[in-house]
């Protein structure tokens, strides 16, 4: 696993180096992301009656989770960068490969967005928020969507044309995370929504969200392994 994490890190570092090759656009992207998400957060806070900081944090976290959910199915099966057939030529099961890639991506997305939030918060409110709380909420949200992302990866591996379904699921995640149903206890089982609920009511225990996230993750990893078998049995990877 250590070697795979190193591989994933190389991929992400290389992607990042490519982005930083254009520093003006990179900085502009960070600034606009921070401003846009903070603005959306203010709107969300006003409609939900939360404080501005909580509303903004919820938006940053939702953006991070949805980004990870979007990224996982495309980590190996999107475009022509690493078509599934070529990814299967590496000496690891796809579930471990995409799992490692997702883990490193989650760290990268989480650290990036949490960092932007902390800076934005410092600039806007002139006070530093509790970094531990911000990072815990971000980690919980990212962890909660990883399994769902792997499930879509598995579907994409076998059926290929599932982008519209993935897009719908992405919208549903976002919508559920800000829906009035957030007060119900079963929300703990819903990716992202459970984490947003905990963010708004930190006195609630976080373990049900983490527990269901673990179940989602196990289901996602199982589905990827099953999909890999189906792909080999049916020759789907080559069939494009």
């Amino acid at each position: 696993m250590k070697q795979l994490l190193y591989v994933a890190w190389i991929k992400i570092r290389t992607d990042l180096a490519e982005q930083t090759r254009y520093p003006v656009q990179f900085v502009f992207g960070l600034l606009t992301t921070g401003a846009m998400l903070w603005g959306l957060g203010i709107a969300a806070a006003r409609t939900s009656g939360q404080s501005t900081e909580t509303g903004a944090l919820a938006t940053f976290i939702a953006m991070g989770a949805v980004s990870l959910f979007y990224l996982i199915p495309r980590a190996l099966a999107g475009g022509k960068d690493h078509p599934p057939e070529e990814a299967m030529l590496y000496p690891y099961p796809l579930s471990r490969l995409v799992g490692a890639l997702a883990a490193v991506s989650a760290v990268q997305i989480g650290a990036g967005l949490a960092g932007i939030y902390l800076l934005a918060s410092l600039v806007v409110t002139r006070s530093a928020p509790a970094a531990g709380y911000v990072l815990a909420a971000m980690a919980l949200a990212l962890f909660s969507v990883a399994g769902a992302g792997l499930l879509v990866f598995a579907l994409k591996l076998v059926f290929r044309k599932v982008d519209s379904v993935a897009m719908l699921a992405q919208l549903a995640l976002f919508a559920l995370a800000f829906a009035p149903t957030l007060d119900r206890s079963w929300v703990a089982a819903v990716p992202l929504a459970g984490a947003i609920r905990w963010l708004r009511q930190p006195d609630l225990p976080a373990w049900p969200v983490a527990f269901f996230a673990l179940l989602w993750l196990a289901a996602g990893l199982w589905a990827v392994a099953r999909a890999e078998r189906a792909v080999v049995d049916r020759g789907v990877a080559a069939y494009g």
Partner: protein
């Protein structure tokens, strides 16, 4: 070397054998789409240190056969062993010792540099593979391009990168589908020499290519596949090698029986003494030779599979 033998029964792991497929049948069964039989029945065997060229027309099943050997497709029947492993079941272990190139290319993100792509590939196999990168970069003539983005590379240089990525972990066997696409003649020679050097070290190779002249320089043996059915040439590949002589007019002189005359073209075994006799007779008749060239055994076998002269 296990040549020209139709094995019977299942594949038995032999010390000297690195690949074996026995009576395999392959059907693509995509979900929500009709099934398609790609290989009706195919068998092959490859000894350690040997190389095999797979020849056949488009859609005959060449790439599918390589996919089966790489463990990307499980045959619906038959037996397959590569390096003693069941490719479909033990693909991850197999890939540690196997290099695969499919459809002539490896894909990398366009904005990565050549160095990024090779480091990423090598990282899967550990420090030894990472240490091998400089050597491969030199062999494949990429020394001055390691910092260049892939998007700026020519087709030939992309192909060199793909090949370097295949060999980064010093595999025991390589499965190469169209490895010489877009390569210039000099690079093809370099690659042929590199591959031959590896064969001498006991490594093995299975290669497909539509350029049969090039394939003849890469492999020692050939297997014909047509309509999903494999056929082993009846004789050793060398015996199919031919010398072709093109003359300025049809030849009427009496020639040795081994020489086949088709209009202004003479075709004969690649034997220097026979060639000398034929040239003497042509000279006596005042016939001028316009062109002379050899045709490798692979070319002859491939031409035979399309109904050409053997």
């Amino acid at each position: 070397m296990l040549k020209h033998e139709h094995a019977t029964g299942a594949c038995f792991p032999l010390e000297t054998e690195v690949a074996c497929a026995q009576d395999i049948r392959v059907v693509y069964r995509p979900p929500l789409a009709p099934a398609k039989t790609a290989i009706v029945t195919a068998s092959l065997r490859l000894a350690r240190g040997a190389s095999l060229g797979i020849v056949g027309p488009n859609g005959a099943g060449k790439t599918t056969l390589l996919r089966v050997l790489a463990g990307l497709i499980r045959p619906v029947s038959g037996d397959v062993r590569v390096l003693g492993l069941d490719p479909a079941r033990e693909r991850h272990q197999l890939m540690r010792r196997t290099g695969v190139l499919l459809s002539g290319t490896r894909h990398f993100p366009e904005r990565w540099t050549v160095g990024d792509a090779l480091r990423f590939t090598a990282a899967f196999y550990g420090r030894e593979a990472l240490a091998r990168i400089p050597e491969l970069v030199e062999i494949f003539g990429l020394g001055d391009k390691t910092r260049q983005q892939i998007t700026t590379l020519s087709l030939g240089n992309r192909q060199r990168l793909s090949l370097a990525a295949v060999f980064v972990h010093d595999p025991d066997i390589v499965l190469l589908d169209e490895p010489t696409l877009a390569l210039d003649a000099e690079t093809v020679e370099t690659f042929a020499s590199f591959l031959r050097g590896r064969l001498r070290q006991g490594k093995s190779a299975i290669v497909t290519s539509h350029d049969h002249a090039v394939l003849g320089r890469l492999v020692d043996d050939a297997l014909v596949i047509d309509n999903g059915i494999t056929r082993v040439p009846e004789r050793p590949l060398d015996s199919y090698a031919r010398l072709l002589i093109f003359t300025d007019r049809p030849v009427r002189a009496s020639l040795p029986p081994e020489v086949k005359v088709v209009g202004e073209r003479l075709e004969m075994p690649n034997d220097p003494r026979l060639m000398a006799r034929v040239l003497d007779r042509l000279d006596a008749e005042g016939v001028e030779v316009v062109e002379m060239r050899t045709r490798s055994g692979v070319e002859a076998v491939a031409a035979g599979s399309k109904g050409g002269i053997q």
